[in-house]
């Protein structure tokens, strides 16, 4: 078969490649599927045993001759194995393509084994895993050095060196540390490449001594221990480690004895190969995507790119693309898999049946999406919906928590803040960006005008886009600046003034606990907190006394900026991850002079802040209580359970009530959690402003209601990401046993498999009277408060303590 000519050559036997080959096989097209490894779907083969593989996006139908549904890794691999023989796929293993030449109708590929293959068309379904970066030091090729970890549970009592500082290295190190002694080698000093949750987990594990870590460390050489080298019996080695490595650290070289190395140094993406053929990429950035047509054809005619390499990391997307490309090559018009779903969504629009036209109109008409790829837009539209609110009906109300943003497609929207004339938004404009950024309730109310049509997009989808698309980020930042200046600072000013002012605005990001300014610093900038929260304190004697608290959408130390002072009289420290806008102080002062209404508004702000200072300054203890509460994350809470220990009789009615109203599993642990100044924070969900749990939920099963409540719906797959991402440890994985009928029980046909799902406090959304824990507390010890109430709670506690 080799050295022969095919209509279609598919490179890479992942889900996309398999699906394309299966279609070609079914349709009797002459094809070959080239796989560098020894098995199909290499990446999935390397997943840990019994891993649950998801079939996202769930709304998207599967178009493939291969079967695929969410399930265990083993079941999926088996079904594909069957699919390969059923569809008569011509698959060749150990066939790594090293070069591609030629053009449409006459491509030529060279492989590592020296044979060349000709094809009329090529589908590249390489994935982005590429080849793992290898340990290239002397001895790096010893069998003790491995690049994957199939099952951490299979290894016990070994000394294992994990090399790397990314997510894979961290996850492996933590999993292995349960039954092995683990040494982590990190080339740098921190874990900036890892997800926040993983970085926090590894830092905890290192400080608790569960994992030993060398920073600024590199492997110099690996070799078998002398005992092994001398050829002694293996039993002699079981006590000591069979291998040794020399590593360099800042303190000099060290020798480590070990059993096994797991090197997780990332992968080299196959971009070089793809680029060498002449495929253009969208940018020079390392993670840039190739330029593709809507049929996934690259800038080299006849060469198609699908799957993760094309920017679609999900299995179902890749499989659909494989199918679609083959259909296209067979000369059949094929609408993308999302076509019918989008047509249903657009039905209410005039000419909505022409999906392509509408998508392109949205692409051109909405500035927020103008810079993103068409295919990415389609993906976003899949989770968005078109809404047509009636005239004068409410889109959202001031004080509601948001879970989506809106783009005006047609008609107008009236945005009403506390005072002043409503702001009118028309086609192409965005609303809901302030809540998206602050995580706090809407500052405005939005009412629909006549013939209003909106595109509603969930926060989770927009956040995903914000992470990858600079253009979306920049657009939202600009809109936020303009609106914040208008709504929070100068509702009376003309759009031109606001526009001019927004040019002088800069954005700052502060890590939790970062110092924004300190007493004695010159006042250079006037800050508006955009997200997160900031505590202002004053140094009295040996300690800092907290005198004020600034949440998102409030001005930082307006007092200092307004009093004609030149230096700060307060320290400002971010309580959680915080973002702030600022304008330079001189321009702000000039603005104050020129604008009497702004001056009056700021004067009112000044009076309020002074009053707050007076209360807090008189009670330094309140500052201590406040600091304690803030240090436990209350700065980002929208509903947190606080127990007054002077009232709590320990009856556990709160826990009993929680369990009684939630299928017998209490979502709060009264006795766990920190206590200080007779205030106890039991382990229970705080319903954060920017819920950490929502950040990485594969099936998007975590939602937030207008009242701020964060809840997990029944689509939870029990992956445990939320449990790990929650910094407050309030999510538990509960085992649910599916109900079995009496007959099944008697017959014992199949042992009922327990399903793990994440459970957490839902503030008893289904109960009329509110949270059962609070309602069941007979002594009034349990209350739920919002971050904004923390200062008042601290003040009251200080009074009680005096």
């Amino acid at each position: 078969m080799l050295d022969s000519n095919f209509d279609l050559v598919i490179v890479g036997a992942g889900p996309g490649g398999l699906s394309a080959a299966a279609r070609a096989g079914q349709q009797g097209m002459s094809h070959v599927l080239l796989e560098a490894g020894g098995a199909h779907a290499n990446t999935i083969q390397q997943y840990q045993q019994h891993k649950h593989v998801m079939a996202e996006p769930s709304v998207l139908p599967l178009r493939s001759d291969m079967e695929f549904a969410a399930g265990r890794r083993e079941a999926i691999l088996e079904s594909w194995e069957r699919g390969i023989s059923r569809a008569k796929v011509n698959i060749k293993y150990h066939c790594e393509v090293t070069a591609i030449r030629g053009a449409r109708g006459n491509f030529e590929m060279s492989t590592k084994s020296g044979v060349s293959i000709r094809g009329k068309h090529i589908i590249l379904a390489l994935g982005v895993q590429g080849h793992p970066r290898r340990v290239t030091v002397p001895g790096g090729d010893l069998p003790c050095v491995q690049y994957t970890l199939e099952s951490a549970d299979a290894l016990r009592g070994e000394t294992i060196v994990v090399v790397g500082a990314g997510d894979a290295a961290i996850e492996n190190a933590i999993a292995l540390s349960r039954s092995n002694s683990v040494i982590l080698l990190n080339r740098n000093s921190g874990f900036p490449r890892a997800k926040d949750a993983n970085a926090a987990r590894i830092t905890r594990a290192i400080s608790a001594g569960r994992i030993k870590c060398f920073m600024h460390a590199e492997v110099r050489s690996v070799q078998a221990s002398d005992a092994r080298a001398n050829g002694r019996q293996a039993s002699d080695n079981s006590a000591g480690a069979p291998y040794r490595m020399v590593i360099s650290t800042q303190e000099g070289e060290r020798t480590l004895a070990f059993h096994r190395v797991i090197a997780r140094l990332g992968a080299i993406p196959p971009r070089q190969l793809v680029e060498s053929i002449g495929v253009r990429f969208l940018s020079s950035e390392a993670d840039a995507l190739p330029e593709l047509s809507s049929q996934y054809e690259s800038t080299v005619p006849g060469l198609f790119v699908i799957g993760a390499l094309a920017g679609y990391p999900l299995i179902k997307q890749a499989m659909n693309q494989g199918f679609e490309v083959v259909e296209h090559l067979l000369g059949r018009a094929v609408a993308p898999a999302d076509h019918d779903i989008l047509r249903d969504k657009f039905r209410i629009l005039r000419g909505g049946s022409d999906v392509e036209r509408i998508v392109s109109l949205i692409h051109k008409g909405l500035p927020i999406f103008r810079g993103i790829q068409m295919l990415a837009l389609r993906e976003l539209l899949l989770v968005s919906r078109v809404v047509t609110p009636g005239k004068r009906s409410s889109i959202f109300a001031r004080g509601d928590y948001a879970s989506s943003i809106f783009n005006v497609l047609r008609g107008e929207v009236h945005l009403e803040a506390g005072g002043g004339a409503p702001m009118i938004l028309r086609g192409g404009q965005l609303l809901g960006e302030m809540s998206l950024i602050s995580g706090r309730p809407h500052e405005t109310s939005a009412l629909a005008g006549a013939d209003c049509i909106l595109l509603e997009t969930p926060h989770s989808a927009i956040r995903k886009l914000l992470r990858t698309e600079q253009s979306v980020r920049a657009y939202i930042d600009t809109v936020y600046s303009l609106r914040a200046l208008r709504l929070l600072l100068m509702p009376h000013a003309s759009p031109e003034t606001i526009h001019a002012l927004s040019k002088a605005v800069s954005l700052h990001r502060f890590a939790p606990g970062a110092e924004i300014f300190k007493e004695g610093d010159p006042i250079e900038r006037f800050y508006l907190v955009r997200s997160g929260s900031v505590a202002l304190s004053r140094r009295t004697g040996e300690q800092d006394t907290v005198v004020a608290y600034c949440a998102a959408n409030s001005f930082l130390d307006a007092l200092g900026c307004l009093s004609g002072e030149t230096t700060r009289s307060l320290n400002a420290k971010s309580m959680v991850a915080t973002e702030a806008l600022s304008i330079d102080h001189a321009s702000f002062k000039a603005l104050l002079k020129a604008d009497a209404r702004l001056a009056a508004k700021m004067d009112a702000e000044r009076t309020e802040q002074l009053t707050q200072y007076a209360h807090m300054q008189a009670r330094p203890k309140a500052g201590n209580v406040f600091s304690y509460l803030m240090s436990h994350g209350l700065g980002e809470a929208t509903s947190v359970l606080v127990i007054d220990e002077t009232l709590c009789v320990g009856c556990d009615q709160c826990e009993k009530a929680c369990a009684a109203t939630h299928e017998g599993v209490s979502r709060l642990d009264r006795s766990a959690g920190p206590s200080l100044h007779s205030l106890h924070l039991p382990t229970s969900c705080r319903h954060c402003e920017h819920p950490h749990c929502m950040r990485d939920c594969p099936p998007s099963a975590i939602h937030r209601l207008p009242n701020g409540e964060v809840y997990i719906d029944e689509t939870c797959i029990g992956c445990g990401n939320c449990e790990e991402n929650c910094p407050y440890g309030v999510i538990q994985m509960a085992e649910k046993t599916p109900k079995t009928s009496l007959f099944e029980k008697l017959m014992r046909t199949k042992p009922a498999e327990t399903v793990k799902t994440a459970v957490k406090c839902d503030v008893c959304a289904s109960l009329k009277g509110g949270p059962a824990c609070v309602r069941a507390c007979p002594t009034g010890a349990a209350i739920r408060i919002h971050a904004e109430d923390v200062l008042e709670l601290a003040r009251q506690r200080a009074v009680a303590l005096e």
């Binding site: 220990e645 320990g650 059962a772 007979p778």
Partner: protein, 297 residues
């Protein structure tokens, strides 16, 4: 923010109960029945009916407390009403009796009511004052942290003892093993007696060794204090002994705090074992009282 069941909604139920009591009292004083005041006059019957209904309402708290899905008020509101109306109910029942007591089922019901109210008053006292006292004993530590700290003190002592002598190690290991953490049955929790013991004379003939009380680690501290430097111990060992004494002292303090906290927790529970059965007895006696009154009418 936080409010207790005492000052719930600005003493709402206290005021209601106070006003009701006052009206009842004034009516009683102003009432001039033809016979001396008793349960059989129109006022007697009215007060009796009110008191009986109140008792039923008070008893319903037990059910409401366990109905976690109920939307009829909140538990704190119910408790507040329970406390104040309970006090008012006793006054109303007393006036209902017209101070006629004797050896009969009616007086039994009344006495039971007094006992229920009395145990309830103790409950209120306990609920108001013990949580704060418990908190003081506990500091900011959880129970598990107490136990962890005690275990840490034990292991540090043992580590140090190992460097001194095998006898010392055995003495301390025995001391740790025979430490009474203050748990056990409710009676033991309430009594709060330190029943820790210590085996003295380890290493000598079996008959010579003796088991003594080690309450508050006193026996251990004494034994450690009796070690004379210069005879068998070097200078280094003396400092170790001092360190051991410090550790034993800290352990004694922790044990005492833990025991006191346990005792308070037990006291917070114990009164309900009296209050609830007495309440059931009262309901039974009340039924008999009502039935007999109508039977002999």
């Amino acid at each position: 923010m936080h409010q207790s069941f005492i000052n719930f909604r600005h003493y709402r139920y206290g005021l209601i109960a106070g006003v009701a009591s006052l009206i009842t009292l004034v009516t009683y004083l102003l009432d001039r029945p033809r016979v001396p005041p008793n349960g059989g006059t129109w006022l007697g019957y009215t007060l009796g009916t009110i008191a009986a209904l109140l008792v039923i309402f008070l008893a319903l708290f037990g059910i409401r407390k366990r109905s976690f899905r109920s939307t009829i008020g909140t538990a704190i509101g119910w408790l507040s009403a329970h406390v104040y109306l309970g006090l008012a109910a006793l006054l109303i029942a007393t006036l209902h009796s017209g101070m006629h007591f004797g050896r009969n089922v009616h007086t039994v019901a009344y006495v039971l009511m007094c006992l229920v109210t009395l145990s309830g008053c103790w409950g209120v006292y306990a609920y108001v004052s013990f949580p704060g006292a418990m908190m003081q004993q506990r500091g900011n530590l959880r129970r598990s942290e107490f136990l962890r700290q005690i275990a840490e003190l034990d292991s540090s002592s043992l580590e140090l003892a190992e460097s001194i002598s095998p006898q010392m190690t055995q003495l301390l290991a025995e001391g740790a093993r025979r430490t009474d953490l203050g748990g056990g049955n409710l009676w033991k929790q309430l009594r709060s007696r330190d029943e820790s013991t210590l085996l003295l004379g380890i290493g000598s003939a079996p008959r010579r060794s003796s088991l003594v009380s080690n309450a508050n680690q006193r026996a251990l501290i004494r034994t450690l204090a009796e070690i004379r430097p210069g005879r068998s111990s070097s200078e280094v060992a003396l400092s170790s002994v001092q360190k051991l004494l410090e550790l034993a002292g800290s352990k004694a303090v922790l044990l005492q705090r833990l025991r006191r906290e346990t005792q308070f927790a037990a006291l917070l529970r114990i009164w309900l074992f009296l209050h609830v059965p007495l309440c059931c007895a009262l309901l039974a006696a009340l039924c008999i009282h009502v039935v007999t009154v109508f039977l002999y009418w």
